[in-house]
């Protein structure tokens, strides 16, 4: 079970990378406007996803895991996308119809 090889160097690099990405995302959010709120949040989420991937691949060892564990590790992601996608699609489609404004 001990893989023998030390991954310490990779871990350290990933840690530094994560710090840099955190800095970038804060700087971008404070100083750069991409033109629309939606675009800004997309950029922030893209950076977050990059960070999350790094954590999963290196800190959580996914890079060195078997195919079985990798496939089950990502199994929730399609369902996450499904839930967000369809519910947002539905709500988007009926803006104006399903606006429960009681005032």
């Amino acid at each position: 079970m001990a893989e023998g090889k030390s991954h310490f160097k990779e871990l350290l690099l990933v840690f530094l990378g994560l710090l840099v990405l955190t800095g970038i995302t804060v700087y971008v959010a404070k100083n750069i406007n991409f033109g629309s709120l939606a675009l800004n949040i997309t950029v922030a989420l893209a950076i977050a996803t990059l960070k999350a991937t790094l954590v999963a691949l290196y800190f959580m060892h996914l890079k060195w895991e078997s195919k079985l564990i990798i496939s089950f590790a990502v199994i929730s992601i399609p369902f996450l996308i499904l839930a967000i996608g369809i519910m947002v699609w539905d709500i988007n489609n009926k803006i104006g119809l399903g606006n429960y404004n009681l005032q």
Partner: protein, 224 residues
């Protein structure tokens, strides 16, 4: 897995129910990943709620988030990333039989977790002080329902903020409990390069807490 390197008389090889240690390691890791999947889906619905209300009222989200302190958020992000690094390092150490180093790193991780919570406490206190809690319309109803708007313009953003960070904080507490349990076992000398499954499992859970925070940070603090 070789047992020759272990001189300890009480050998913890992780065997359980007739399953050899490596098999337990394999199964536990698999089971933990499945469990992490369920955790992600638990947060997924909150993210879905976030997405929907964001689309309905982007301006509210934009303006409300301004009342949050990015400094608090950034410090907590760095704390969590660092603790995630130390716990991953701890696993590298135990693979090399460096038990003492692993224990030290676990202590650092736990201290980071506590620091996160302390930081969060001050942040919450600040929120209450400047009235964000009122905006979330949080009030004690004692289970009777029948909510009335506390403030003139209740903000969905703050409700989502408090629920997300609250549930995340609960996960931090659970993770701290897990890591403390692992640390106690580590100090007792249960782990060596041939058996460190609980360290790895506890570490995976702690990384998940970090993973969730990585998304919470931009969604809550950086939308302003």
């Amino acid at each position: 897995m070789s047992t020759s390197t272990v001189t300890n008389k009480k050998l913890h090889d992780g065997s359980k129910w007739g399953n050899p240690g490596p098999m337990v390691y394999d199964m536990s890791k698999f089971g933990m990943w499945l469990f992490l999947g369920t955790e992600i889906l638990l947060f997924a619905m909150l993210f879905t709620g976030y997405a929907i209300y964001y689309m309905k009222m982007p301006e509210d989200f934009h303006n409300s988030a301004k009342a949050l302190s990015t400094t608090f958020g950034t410090i907590n992000t760095i704390i969590l990333i660092f603790s995630s690094f130390t716990v991953a390092w701890a696993i590298e150490c135990i693979k090399k039989n460096k038990v003492k180093m692993m224990n030290i790193l676990l202590v650092i991780t736990i201290l980071c977790g506590v620091a996160f919570l302390v930081n969060k406490y001050f942040e919450y206190a600040h929120e209450v002080h400047i009235g964000n809690l009122k905006l979330a319309n949080m009030q004690w109803l004692g289970g009777t329902g029948r909510a009335v708007a506390e403030s003139a313009v209740p903000s969905m953003f703050f409700f989502i903020y408090f629920v997300l960070t609250g549930i995340h904080g609960l996960h931090i507490i659970i993770g701290l409990g897990l890591l403390t349990w692992v640390l106690v076992k580590g100090i007792k000398g249960h782990f060596h390069s041939g058996w460190y499954t609980p360290v790895e499992i506890g570490g995976l859970y702690w990384h998940l807490v970090d993973l969730i925070w990585i998304y919470l940070f931009p969604l809550l603090y950086l939308v302003a």
